[in-house]
Symmetry: D2
Subunit: 338 residues, 4 copies
């Protein structure tokens, strides 16, 4: 951390500050220029509050140098995390495709889609039971019943299931769920994150619509600091001024995350683009960018889907996409690895 | 709602669509051009799912015409809502200032600040007990203890209190709180919104960092559709590319909201700017823009604040600001009203 | 400037870097920690290229501390600049309203509007002759003829005129124009800025749709470094995800600019909101926020305007707005000045 | 186009509007509902001004249905455009890599880099002579001398050259340049676009930092409507709130553009990410997403580059990247084509 003092800072101020930092076991190295004084802070500055320093009247600015996350930091954990979901591994060279409908609607629908996506090569089944919808008048999901139907589909196909949680109060309902998803709108629902850190099911943590990559890692840190280290990060598009796509898919987040963290990264091209015809090509691009997996919406009858129909692939479209993804993934591993 | 069919749409498609819309009691009026067909939907289209229509293979685009909110809509409720907080009224010409520290820290601190801001003219006391922080290593608030200290400050000063809730599970702790605040990061925590709609305390609903004005109204609609009509909307800055301020304060949200809804609107210049020296002038601008109130962070010793020190006013700065705000508000009412 | 070296930096690297910086007369002060070395650069670092430092393989990061602009910097020029336009002064306590149509259309139109806005208290006349339009099929302005009509309106009313330039090649046509406007889309048309710096007419420099406040000041610096110090900055809304307004008006830019620069700042609520009914209230808020002036679109028949009709006030609406603005400005000066 | 009338619209209003639209040869089809009237406009609505309609007091909203561009529209020109640069073809299945330094610095530098990138498989040479820099104190390029050095490199290697123009006044200097680049900051410099439309050299048109895909196509339309049809579109990252990368690379722009237009699309991963170590993977992802080409910054000594060093690859890094790109491109064509 670097603290820049303004011209009005007196020696008393500097001493006061040094004393304050002493309490954190942080050493201060001073650099005096003609128009400013720079203090370099050396030691474990993670718990030093940048805002408190900035609020001191003789401080001009504070610049952080070290990342504010530890458990998620690749510097301290160079080996990639492999998340094991009932034997299905993600990360560290293991690539998986999660597929299924936006929301669970009926027993027939979820079982049919589950069988279809399994046949095409998906290894995890997604499906929403609790649905975060912008409008209170839109379909809110089958909730507890939806979870039951998902479990039936799991029984019928043997696929582990991934589904979204919207409140810590629902945790008991998730006891047979394999991966708990935290949606974009709850990425900074810190009370929920803490509760999820206290249990040990893997978490699929989606990046918020307006959240930086660093904030995504801080939210992972919330979960990890409570104990649970099984986190899969998910980029699903961020909100920008562009309207041709539902969100703007930030594929460069993959390379940034691979540099900063050891956690696996999956891409959701369905929510990112919002348009079914754009999904296959962006899924392919995500594989090429180095994603550890994909999460794709598939519906047996998109026009009758109760949610997100326009971005859902049909089973046939998904099958075609899976063929390409599988080929490309093999090619990446065998031909393009360094 | 307007549905644009593409060139491939057949008469069978159009008939299928008309039948589908019949179920919603929505009438279809057709306009045929050489390169497209436009369907105008007439009736209560609120429950028609735009996404389902868009997913139909013969549909090119769907454009909504009516606002997707009802209870919050000024068209249906032209009179301004006045929220009554234990006799302190906001909205419909009633202007109030909510002030206090970012977080409750000690009994002395909160009571001292409460007395100070009351003396300067604030009518509601704010103070965070449950604190949403980006980092799990940052001060998380005094939680239940913080609420108790707030209640002591309420007892000592007679000021109603406003404080943030982070989980519906904490609701029982809020039984003596006067206004429950939903923070920007929870604006689309729909499960929380529903629970808050089922109780009757007034809600201060903050706009999310990346949420449109329409989405803010849809979140209000979540609360209102469950019963609770006592909502105060709050603009607190949105996330943009600009870094000179913590967020970008969108004061035009006031005029847009005044046109679209009957709910009162307050402005938070502290979180919007993130810089104490910018707060007074933006508070003044907010009054001129027609805000029904302000929420301002005040701390007796910002440099030692456990949270958001750089954006907190000292009691002296706040007092100076209140004098200007009060003068300006009186001027607006007496001299600038139409 | 602060340079953070990574762990791989050797003494040879540090020495190489010190030598490199020696050439700029910049001194280096070293702070060694266990995991990193921080170099504080002391001296005139304005010409040191941050990017070159960042590209060195042993450099982790570079953080600038001083503002990268000099001529526009209030630190070096504490007194506010007063721009004198043929006797009409803006800045340093002088407040002016620039008004007129989006584009000059006919002799009758521009003279009628000019007389109207003058009668209401506007002191400068705006009107577009060269029009930047997103579509090549939209009205592109009357160009040279438009300038002639503007000059007729100037002759008829005695008002100095403000109009936009789109290419340095047109400069000879602007010899009788009083203030040359650089539009948002040309804020970083650096060749144009340099040419405008070499002549001495005042420049109204609009902030680009996606440009930071610092970039706006750097563009002013382009003009000033060539000689011309007569610059009026203009905030006209930035591009965000919000769609209820054409752009998002960033009124906090006023307080930031007042802190950083001595140049006057005017606000354009017409382009910012894009909606005539929102303009008056945002004009009022801009005055309260401390603007040195306003630029407002007025058209005698908005529904027939060849450009930007929806955001144009009628002369009657403008007159009503001017009455309020004038009252408020007087109140601000007499009652709310510190 | 669809025009929504508000409740206050009278029959006289509707008739007035129909007459107005008659002048454009646009037919009006009316749909009356209980709370609104919808007018469907049928015919060539390209020249109808949306803003004028919106400004009419009885009009609530106007929604465009057809794309506002013609020449660039794939609907009217289904076959992909192949731009031929002295025998080097881009588009319609022809993939090319443009490489070279951010700026031309010396004869040795540009010739050395040119030979290097040619040896690695690049087919066009890039190099900046006129440099748009945020700061007037930064290196502005060698300008006319830089163009001469580029032409020497062209003579030495036989590679066609691509370089940026910053003012139409410089056009005569570009007579031996092969592709004229319009930079992001000039994407809406409409006077420049018109001049470039009147000559016949191919144009590389970069998307602006805050411009939508539709606006990019409208800028292409400016050039095409003046005659020049040889346009290569370039996505180079857009400005968002994320700071881990210089810009946010919008790879989904490729699939959107492929749907909307017949023009070739190239990707610039160097400016998009701003970080050399991120460039190779994003180049690979761009190929997988279906780009027709890449433009990559390469410098023989990035740490001494006068511009954009941190994002420049060394010739060795570029060579390694080219090997992967070439393999992947072949794989895409032979194995992943439909």
């Amino acid at each position: 951390m670097v603290v820049i003092l303004n011209n009005n800072a007196t020696e008393t101020d500097t001493n006061m500050l040094k004393e304050y930092l002493d309490a954190y076991n942080v050493e201060v190295r001073e650099t005096k220029g003609s128009t400013m004084t720079i203090l370099g802070l050396v030691g474990d500055t993670l718990s030093v509050d940048v805002d408190s320093l900035r609020a001191m009247p003789f401080v001009d600015d504070v610049k952080r140098i070290q990342e504010p996350y530890k458990a998620a930091n690749r510097k301290f954990h160079p080996d990639p995390t492999v998340v094991d979901v009932n034997g299905v591994k993600i990360g560290g060279g293991n690539f998986q495709v999660i597929a299924g409908p936006c929301s669970v609607e009926t027993e027939e629908q979820i079982i049919e889609v589950a069988k279809d996506v399994k046949a095409s090569g998906a290894t995890l089944l997604r499906g929403g039971a609790f649905k975060p919808r912008t409008s209170p008048y839109a379909f809110q999901g089958l909730r507890a019943n939806g979870l039951e139907l998902l479990l039936e589909a799991k029984a019928a196909t043997g696929m582990p299931i991934v589904t979204e949680i919207m409140s810590a109060a629902h945790l008991p309902l998730f006891k047979d769920v394999d991966v708990i998803q935290v949606g974009a709108r709850n990425m900074q629902n810190f009370e929920l994150l803490k509760m999820l850190g206290k249990q040990d099911k893997p978490i699929l943590l989606k990046r918020g619509l307006a959240n930086t990559i660093e904030e995504l890692l801080m939210s992972a840190e919330y979960i990890m600091s409570e104990g649970n280290q099984n986190i899969i990060l998910c980029e699903r598009g961020i909100r920008t001024f562009e309207t041709a796509t539902r969100n703007t898919l930030d594929l460069s987040a993959i390379v940034v995350l691979k540099e900063k963290t050891h956690l696996p990264v999956v891409i959701d091209p369905s929510h990112a683009t919002g348009v079914a015809s754009y999904v296959p090509q962006m899924a392919i691009a995500a594989v090429a960018a180095g994603a550890d997996g994909l999460i794709i919406e598939v519906h047996n009858d998109p026009a009758k889907a109760l949610c997100d129909g326009p971005q859902s692939l049909t089973p046939v479209q998904f099958d075609n996409t899976m063929k390409k993804i599988t080929k490309l993934r093999n090619f990446m591993v065998t031909e393009l690895a360094n």
